[in-house]
């Protein structure tokens, strides 16, 4: 079915790309339903068509362009593709309707691509990340990143991601989903020749994405069987409390949770995101993971709203565990990209925590708090897209400049790569949820809704909520603290102090276009943090039935939650703190001027004159206390090797310490299952031993059995 669909879509692409004004192109335009809405309807449809056309053009240019031009051409076309997606998404977010109708011969509901407001929001997020990634990857001119395969897969990946939120029926949803997975897998594989770990990562990624796909397919199938149609409107007809709805909910949660990197389906994350080229990691973590979130919202907000309370509690549980586990692993990791990958799990865990809380609260009629929690989850999604793609691109810049991603061998990059350092720093602030960045606004709003959510007009809404909410607050508090430590480590060890290796000492600033992408990303992080009001109000329109009572914009871009009675105005905060800080700074400078600068050589340098880079804190030593505190959860394995000088027992030549923190879900959950499968495979090998006679006998016996059974 997928193959047929892909072919159809390919036809659409060709139709869109080469002959937009012919019958094929015209046929695809959705017929307008209301005369008044003619212009916006065709605008969205034209936007989608343009995306498909640009995608096809980018694929062709990736195939045809000369190696010297390939990156430029592909990058420009991908940027244009993402900009088109951004415009289309913005249009849909602002309320424009319309789309594309893909006619099919199969007996099911037609394939319609028509993003609603929520879909528009996610299209906006995904294509925003797409712009950063395309700009960034344009400057790579050799190696696997600039290969033909990579530049063919890139537009496929982007188009797939931008079409998933536009789908309004399960078939086109799954189709776009598979296009997205296909593109990302190929992009991941692009570098397989130079590193063996990439192959292993690809196998994990393919297996886990197919598992996700299977769950989603099964979930949609259950809903479709219960409702008798494949379009989302007919799937909505399923009663949320019925058993098909419960089954579908669990299946879909597993499927989308796998894509959104939730525990325990996150095992691909620490393998794939570090091994993929950095701009691909940025696209995966910044954009593709958001599609998983979109799937979760699709199920919980659009398809099966008003589910039983245990749905909300299940989502909160999964989200909470993911958040804690992700940030714990991130905080002890000394590999920069593994750290960022696990931090993605943490952030997605928080998003799902917010989503679950909103479902739980909505079930108890605490609408204001529920809306606030949902808006907070969406804001966290948007801000995560901004800061995590910037962070991954920053990590890519570090790898570009030094070839290292092990924090223990970095250091001192701040002076050598100022633009990267600034962008990475701002994005780190966002990831650590420090005020005036985007992460802070989202976590603040989530906390507000959780704190105020347990009570409605002073009365406790339910026992479940009054137990769950304080626990959720505790989880967020712990993750926020650990996130702060994690990103202090990431930024401090990489960019401050002295270089810990020759590669770090020789680092140079990356090319202009990479700097541009990084700066844009950092700008997004700041803008989302400084102007949360208008953005939150816009976001509230996508999910709330009554957006103005849920979230309002106040003051200079501040945000207010009227239902809860909480107000946040970051710009006022900045102005106020500036009013306090400026006199203090001025007085310090003035008093410093009054006393001339003195240089005193200490007689023995206080030990400082002989300090070597190796004496500095490293990422591992910085995280050591954490490893000790969370020893029971993380189960690290330590290996100390002492080499003695010749025969002496007391003189040590060198000490080698190795500490490994493995993923307990992988060792305790996946390994046993995989071993079991392997044993099954060995047993089954006797049944399928390669003898053609045996296989023919199987089919003969099967045929005879069928004949005997039908004639009975």
């Amino acid at each position: 079915m997928t193959a047929i669909g892909a072919e159809l879509l390919l036809q659409t692409e060709i139709g869109a790309g080469l002959l937009p004004q012919t019958a094929i192109g015209a046929e695809l335009l959705l017929q307008t339903e209301i005369g008044a809405g003619l212009l916006p309807q065709t605008a969205i449809g034209a936007g989608l068509l343009l995306q498909l056309g640009l995608g096809a053009l980018a694929v062709v240019s990736g195939l045809m362009a000369a190696p010297s031009l390939r990156s430029r051409a592909g990058g420009i076309l991908c940027t244009l593709l993402a900009v088109t997606g951004l415009a289309t998404g913005l249009g849909a977010l602002l309320g424009a309707t319309g789309g594309l109708l893909i006619p099919i011969a199969l007996p099911m509901d037609p394939l319609v691509l028509a993003p609603d407001r929520l879909g528009g929001l996610f299209m906006l997020v995904v294509s925003g990340v797409g712009i950063l990634v395309s700009l960034y990857s344009m400057s790579s001119t050799r190696g696997a990143d600039a290969s033909r395969t990579a530049w063919v897969a890139m537009p496929v990946f982007l188009v797939g991601m931008q079409l998933v939120p536009a789908a309004t029926d399960s078939v086109s949803f799954l189709l776009a989903w598979e296009i997205m997975t296909l593109g990302s897998t190929v992009l991941l594989l692009a570098d397989h020749a130079s590193r063996a770990t990439v192959a292993s990562a690809s196998i994990w990624y393919s297996a886990m994405s197919q598992l996700s796909f299977f769950f989603i397919l099964a979930g949609f199938a259950v809903l479709a069987a219960a409702s008798g149609g494949t379009s989302f409107t007919s799937l909505q007809a399923v009663e949320p409390g019925s058993w098909p709805a419960n089954l579908a909910f669990v299946l879909l949660l597993l499927g989308f949770g796998g894509k959104a990197e939730l525990v325990p389906l996150h095992v691909w994350v620490p393998r794939v995101l570090p091994e993929a080229p950095s701009h691909v990691s940025a696209a995966m973590s910044g954009a593709m993971v958001k599609i998983g979130v979109y799937g979760g919202l699709l199920v919980c907000v659009r398809l099966l709203p008003d589910g039983p309370p245990w749905w909300g509690i299940a989502i909160m549980l999964v989200g909470g565990v993911s958040a804690l586990y992700g940030i714990l692993q991130a905080s002890v990791s000394s590999d920069l990209k593994v750290l960022l990958a696990y931090s993605t799990t943490e952030n997605m865990g928080l998003v799902f925590l917010g989503l679950g809380a909103s479902m739980l609260l909505r079930g108890f009629d605490a609408t204001a708090a529920a809306d606030a929690a949902l808006v907070a989850a969406l804001l966290l999604t948007i801000s995560h897209a901004a800061f995590k793609s910037t962070l991954f691109l920053g990590a890519g810049a570090i790898i570009h400049a030094t070839g290292e991603r092990n924090l223990d061998r970095l250091g001192g990059l701040g002076a050598r790569m100022p633009v990267t350092a600034a962008a990475f720093g701002i994005a780190s602030l966002g990831a650590a949820a420090i005020p005036i960045t985007s992460g802070f606004v989202a976590e603040w709003m989530l906390l507000q809704s959780l704190i105020h959510g347990g009570r409605l007009d002073g009365a406790v809404v339910s026992v479940a909520a009054s137990v769950a909410m304080p626990l959720a607050v505790a989880v967020i508090a712990l993750t926020a603290g650990l996130a702060l430590l994690t990103f202090v480590k990431a930024y401090g060890i990489a960019f401050l102090a002295r270089p810990r290796s020759a590669a770090a000492a020789d680092a140079r600033e990356v090319p202009r276009l990479m700097q541009l992408a990084l700066a844009l990303g950092a700008l997004f992080v700041l803008a989302l943090g400084l102007l949360p009001g208008p953005i939150a109000a816009l976001v509230a329109h996508t999910v709330s039935s009554n957006p103005t009572t849920a979230v309002q914009s106040v003051g200079l871009g501040g945000v207010s939650l009227p239902g809860i009675g909480a107000v946040l105005d970051p710009i006022m905060l900045v102005v106020l703190s500036a009013l306090v800080a400026i006199p203090v700074i001025v007085s310090i400078i003035v008093s410093a001027r009054r006393h001339p600068h003195r240089t005193v050589d200490l007689p023995w340098g206080g030990g400082g004159s002989r300090a070597r880079p190796r004496m500095q804190y490293t990422a591992t030593s910085y995280a050591e206390p954490l490893v000790r505190v969370f020893d029971d959860v993380l189960k690290p394995s330590r290996d100390v090797q002492v080499t003695h000088v010749a025969e002496s027992r007391y003189l040590v030549e060198r000490v080698r310490v190795e500490q490994r923190v493995s993923d307990i879900f992988e060792t305790r959950l996946y390994r046993p299952v995989l071993n079991l499968l392997q044993r099954y495979g060995i047993v089954v090998r006797h049944l399928a031993n390669g003898s053609i006679h045996r296989y023919l006998s199987y089919s003969f016996v099967a045929l005879l059995i069928v004949l005997i059974v039908v004639s009975l």
């Binding site: 031993n689 390669g690 003898s691 053609i692 006679h693 023919l696 006998s697 003969f700 045929l703 005879l704 004949l707 005997i708 039908v710 004639s711």
Partner: protein, 219 residues
């Protein structure tokens, strides 16, 4: 005149089809099998011709000529296309001894009668009564396929299976359109040619075409 002979002619043709099938299972010599296959092809062509004349369709007579040239002459010639002496020497050592194989043929024939009469009904027509022969040929061909070790003997089993399908088609529905029949015949010829070349390559490479020794090639 013809009407009186018609049931006998049909019975003769289908009977010879079944007989050649059973003999193919019994005989171990490759040359004998190929000759029996040629006989079977001719019997099939005769069957088609009889049906065509009885139903007054000249097209079927054309088909019967096609079948005669492909299945009665062409395919056996391709299979025996080697020095007669070499083919004569090839003796199959099947995985099933002749007695057991003939017993299996009997059981399969009974089974196909039971299946056809229970599932489809034998009907009133002469051809309907003969239809189980086609299914029996399919099953016997399959039996040959799994009990023979050499690639070329297996090929003969495969061809008998194809003959069985064709017989069933002609007996139950008066055959398939000529274009389809033509295409299928060409297809089978092509398959046989490819497999023949393949078997030749196998012989030069491994010194034999015993298929059950090929299992080490997997993985």
């Amino acid at each position: 005149m013809f009407e009186a002979f018609y049931p006998q002619l049909i019975g003769l043709c289908t009977g010879s089809l079944l007989l050649t099938s059973a003999l193919m299972v019994w005989r171990h010599s490759l040359l004998a099998s190929i000759r029996l296959l040629a006989l079977q092809g001719m019997a099939l062509a005769a069957l088609v011709a009889v049906i065509g004349i009885a139903e007054g369709e000249p097209e079927l007579v054309l088909v019967s000529l096609l079948i005669f040239s492909v299945k009665g002459v062409g395919l056996p010639w391709v299979l025996a296309h080697q020095s007669k002496a070499a083919v004569k020497q090839i003796q199959e050592s099947p995985r099933l001894n002749p007695t057991a194989a003939l017993l299996a043929v009997t059981l399969l024939t009974i089974l196909s009668y039971v299946v056809v009469s229970r599932v489809f009904g034998l009907g009133d027509s002469v051809t309907g009564h003969a239809a189980p022969i086609g299914l029996a040929m399919v099953l016997i061909g399959f039996l040959l396929l799994i009990s023979r070790r050499r690639a070329r003997s297996q090929l003969i089993g495969f061809l008998m299976l194809d003959n069985g399908i064709a017989t069933l088609a002609f007996l139950t529905s008066g055959g398939v359109p000529i274009l389809l029949e033509f295409a299928v015949s060409l297809d089978v010829l092509l398959v046989v040619l490819i497999l023949h070349v393949f078997a030749g390559r196998m012989r030069t490479k491994f010194g034999g075409t015993a298929v059950d020794q090929l299992r080490e090639l997997h993985d």
